[in-house]
Each structure stands twice: as structure tokens, then as C-alpha cells.
Symmetry: none
Subunit: 401 residues, 2 copies
Amino acid sequence: MDIQELVRSLQGKNSSKIVLLIADGLGGLPIEPGGPTELEAAKTPNLDRLAKMGVLGSMIPIKPGITPGSGPGHLGLFGYDPLKYVIGRGVLEATGIGFEIGPRDVAIRCNFATLNPDGTIEDRRAGRIPTKESAPLAIKLRQVRIPGVEILVEPVEEHRFAVIFRGEGLAGNVGDTDPQKTGVPPLEPVATEPGSRRTAEIAREFLAQAAKILAGQPKANGLTMRGFSVKPALPSYEEVYGLKAAAIAAYPMYKGLARLVGMEIVGQPKSLDEEIDVLEKAWGDYDFFFVHFKYTDSRGEDGNFAEKVKMIEKFDSIVPRVEALKPTVLVVTGDHSTPAALASHSWHPVPVLLWAATCRPDACQTFGETEAIRGGLGHFEAVYLMPLALAHAGRLGKFGA
Amino acid sequence: MDIQELVRSLQGKNSSKIVLLIADGLGGLPIEPGGPTELEAAKTPNLDRLAKMGVLGSMIPIKPGITPGSGPGHLGLFGYDPLKYVIGRGVLEATGIGFEIGPRDVAIRCNFATLNPDGTIEDRRAGRIPTKESAPLAIKLRQVRIPGVEILVEPVEEHRFAVIFRGEGLAGNVGDTDPQKTGVPPLEPVATEPGSRRTAEIAREFLAQAAKILAGQPKANGLTMRGFSVKPALPSYEEVYGLKAAAIAAYPMYKGLARLVGMEIVGQPKSLDEEIDVLEKAWGDYDFFFVHFKYTDSRGEDGNFAEKVKMIEKFDSIVPRVEALKPTVLVVTGDHSTPAALASHSWHPVPVLLWAATCRPDACQTFGETEAIRGGLGHFEAVYLMPLALAHAGRLGKFGA
């Protein structure tokens, strides 16, 4: 029995409300010896006040040393073991552009490629063709017709696009056609188990028709398909936690990930302030609210320490509006670290702040990575965050008599 | 998927260099109430300076409460789950004397024993016969001849020696012949699975011939065989981590353990200073260096607090030479604790120091057990040390998109 199964067996309902306030890529690193991290450098009077009253911890997103992508990072936060539940690359690509994957869908990440006259690959990314050229080509591929299956083609960015086959009896166990090198032709799509044979046949037919449509294109005269995958069988928040859950996010990827675990996507906020507007309006309708702020990660990815600090200060500024709603449990953290010093996601732990009337306050006085090391929640893996939130909300019964 | 499989799927190569500097049995205990441990009592200016710049943690060698032997202790350090990968006692005995176990070998720990005239065991250890008497007897056993199999006999110490059967179709699933009590005859070697039947037959023939050779000896007129085992199927450092790894150690046991995970044994150093000489010379040729210092453990085993302190100070003194090589990641720790107060290995956690440009410094100011408790790496099991080292070296890709 893993922790989620245990929680599932113990959960009960009450009128509590839980808010999970996520600053994406929150954790950071100093940019000078002995200096503060972004969070430590930021003026965060509201989070510091909560840190004094609440309890902190140092959260390991996946396992020590492992840097999460957005998919596994959020699955962990949501309480789903990211090593057990894997979101396929095709599904993640489609999710990232806001495409809602259905139960009859197989999603595929595709690359436009440049083929030589002999059919071998000259460039696996079609010279990173700009989106304004590639998007119309992707849309042109919607002309493909295959009996018994609906074909959906969605532009993504530059050479990337997504294809979704929708129909009965499809499966995702088909090998990539990208040979991962140039000078050889793309691979044939091959089923790796009998149940995916029809999907592989459809892919071959798609590629044949697409070849005709793309013929004569200077750069994007071919394509490769990768990450064939179906919607993962994730039990819902309602099933696992007994929570009616709302997701409030501006970016399609995070809405999509929340939808995969059965959260309802609420509102169409374009900014953090608008997200809190949505939260206030939806307050009466849900038990659980996942609120996602993207720009802490974005500025970290940019390698811009000062701007990430500003984004954290922005994030801090909306905290009183959340507090005013009187949540039973308020959890503030990130899905992973994105230190400006590395300009990328990283493996470093993420500080967690949990406030609830039932929490046991520790000695921590401010919200920051160094302070969180001595927090009362200790060092723990992300999959334990939801159990902790539920417990503090009085939603978990006793295990055993 | 366990952590090692995950790491294996994410590892990539770069030009980084990782040093794992091991003071065997590093962790200790105070010898008076409120007093320091050996490490805390030692003057370690170099390790303290690194502790300020780096990040500490408190490492659990196997699981809380479990005292490791050298085999499991090092397997854990090397990132191999010691509960999954078991090194047989025979292989460990042979490894400890520097015998290189091959793929066609079955290794067996043997004891000389004193038998009564009726064949029952009078003394399971032949009166702890001194090595100078037992070693020639072990060598005499090399006279045993069995068709189709090569017999190797190696003296160890006092009543102990090792036998290796080398040939095709051998296996290690044979029961011990030591009945673990006196007044009864030794057991027959019995195969516990069909594939080991031939090995059991060879063992019976070995025992029959050995009985004749030992007949008339006053103490060592018999022998028992234990821990039949073959070389464990450990994936190599190159396979798992993509690392070309060097082991620099003075003691055969640690060279042998490193060899089992595919490290190359470099040099023939006799002292810690010579080990660092070897490290400097080999610096250009490997990605990873395991440097093993034995005497912290030895003085702990002796129960000599003051001498263990001196050994730790010796260990500290070579740190600047290692730093001068500019490793990307420098990890300093032990394989387990050997408190002088207990004069034995123990289950207590071992302090870890990790320095890298990518580490997130914590508030720790010195290198010691108490300080390590509040380290940024938290409390973690040894199998996570290699993933952390690889991450800080930039050798692990992102998990999921």
C-alpha cells in the first residue's frame, strides 16, 4: 500500500477548505558566496508572518538529486507518485497547448524535419522553422483523412506540433519514428504490443498522406512522430481525497495537468491578480484550490535573479487576499527549484510553508530555503504534501484502532 | 523503478570530475556526557572551511538502526541498494584478501576445525590456531585435485581461509557445512537448487581429500565450508552512471568492493599521502574517484578515541591537495560510524559534506555530526548520495518534460 492508497482508505469529508498556492520553480540558489537565494532576498512580509505562525519544511520534488519536469513535478505535488504514474510525452505536449486529451485519444509529439531527396533526414528540426511558417503547415495536415479515426493536428512552436488520433481501439505502445540522428530515413511506426497495431497502421497512413501534403516544402518536407501516448489512468482528486478541487492557472500546461487528476479548471485568469479574483468568486464551490503562479519559474529560467525576486514579491503581495478567505489549510510552495544561477529547473529541495489552526509551529521566523531546513515538517518527498494538508484539515481518519 | 534505475535513465556525460573521499567509520560518539564526537573533537580547519561553503547532511548507511558491514556499507555509498544486491560471504572473504573473483568462480569461507575421533566437532575454530600455523595448512590443501575444476585455496587469518572453485557450470546455492555447534559432525554440502548440484559434489570431494591431508593434525584436523557464493551481478559505474571510475585504496577489501562495481583500481598506495599522489597522477584519466582512508575505522575499532581524532586530523590535512585539483563535486563522508566508545561499527548516521559550485549552502559552519543534523541535504539514505553527486556535477537530465 503506498501513501496515496493509505490516504484514500482514511479520507473523510468536512467543510474545510484547502489552498495550495504554487509559485512555480520557487526554490533558488545564491548568486554570490554567502548570499541569499531569490526567496531569501525578496521582501515577503506576508509569507514571513505566516512562517512564524505556521510550520515549514524542505520538500524533495521526486527523489534526492532528481530534477523534475513540469509533469512529474506537479504529479508529485498533487500526491501521485511520479515514478508510478508516467505522463507520456505526446500527452504532455498536447496538454501544454491546452488540448484536452480524451479517453479515446492517442497523442503524439511531432517534429517537422528536412528530408534529402533519397528520403534520409537532413535536419531533424527542419532548421527550427519559425512558428509563423510551421503553424500553417501543421494546420494543412488536418487534410489527412483516415477512415474510422478522427485526426487532430495542433501547431505548437517552431518545428514542433501535436497529432491526436481519436477513435476506438487505439493504444499508445508505438515506437518513435525519429531515429535521433541524421543521414538515415525516419523509422517506420511499429507497435510494441499487439493492442497498438492499429494505431501503428494509422500512423503509417498518416505519414504517407502527410508526405504528399509536405512535398516540395523547402524546409519542412517531412516529419517524425514521438511519444505516442494515451491519457494516463490517474485516479481523481474526488476518488483519492474526497475533494472537489478547482485549478486556477493562467498557463495551459498547468490547467492540463490539473485536469488529468480530475480538477475543474475555473475561470480564465491572465494574471496572478485575476487568479485571486477567480479564487474569491469560486470560494463557495470547492473544497480544494490549486493556484498556480508561473513567472517565478520563467524569470528563473531566464537566469534573472532580480526579476525572480520581484516575482516572488508580487506573489507575496496577494497572500493577504487568500488569508482573508479564511482557508482551513494554506500551503505555499513550488513544484521544484528554478535557480536563476542555473537558468533551469534543478534538483534542490523546495521550501514549504503550511499554515493551519492545527499545525505545530516550529522555530522558523521567515520563509526561505535555509530557514526551511530546520522546519517542523522536516525533509520530505512531495507525495507527502497532500496527506499533510488533508490531515491538518481534519480530513484523514485514524489508521487502525 | 528504484532510484538507481531512474538515475541510469537520466545520466549524461560531461567533463566534470567527482571525488568521493571516504574516511572509513567516520561517525562517532562522545566519550563523556556533553562531550564532542571524534570528528567534533578533531581540529579540521579544511573540512570546516568546506562545510561553510558547501552543504551538509546526515546519512543513514542502510536503514535507521542497521549497522553495516564493509560490504553493504560500501554498496550503499556506491549507490547500490544493499538490500537488493547481496555480496555472498565467500566472495566478501576472498575480496578482503585481494583475490579477484572471476565469472566462473564459486568462493567459500572455510574454517579449520578440531574433530573428535568419532567425527564430531570439538572446536569450530580449531582453537583459533595462529596464522603462522594455519597458513601453511591452507596452502597444503592446494594439493586437492578434482577433474574439470580448478581449486584455489587462500589463507586468511587464524582458523579462516578461502576456497575458490573455478570452472564451468558452477553455482553458489549450496548450504553451509558448519552446523554452528559442537558435538555433532559437520553437515554434508547440499545443493539448495538443481543448478548447484555439481558444486555440492565438488565440495564433497574437496572435503574428502582435505580430510586425508589434514589427518593427524593436532588442532586443524577438519574444516567447515560456509557462504558459497558467486560474483554478484552488479551493473558497473559506467553502465549506471556513465562514469569512468577509479578506486584509490590501500586495503584489499575496498579495492575488491570497488572492482565489483567496475571501478578501476589505480596505483598501489600504502598510505593516505600516497593515495593523494595517485589521485593527482590519475586526475586526467577518470571522471570519478573513490578515495578510501582506513585508519579512522581501525582506531575506532580499537576503542581509541584520541587516536581516531588524530586520524581524522590526518585526513583533514590532505583536503587542500584534493581541492587544488579543482573537482566539480567533492563529497566527504564515511561508509558507517565506528565510535571508539563502542569499539565497533554502529548504526549511527554519518555526516556528509558536499561541495560544488551548484550546491545550495546551508547554515552549517563546521563539519561534525551535530552540525550535519541541520544540513541542507537533510537526513537521507546512502543510496541517494551518488544521485546527489551526479546532479551537482550536471550529469543528470530532467525527469519528464
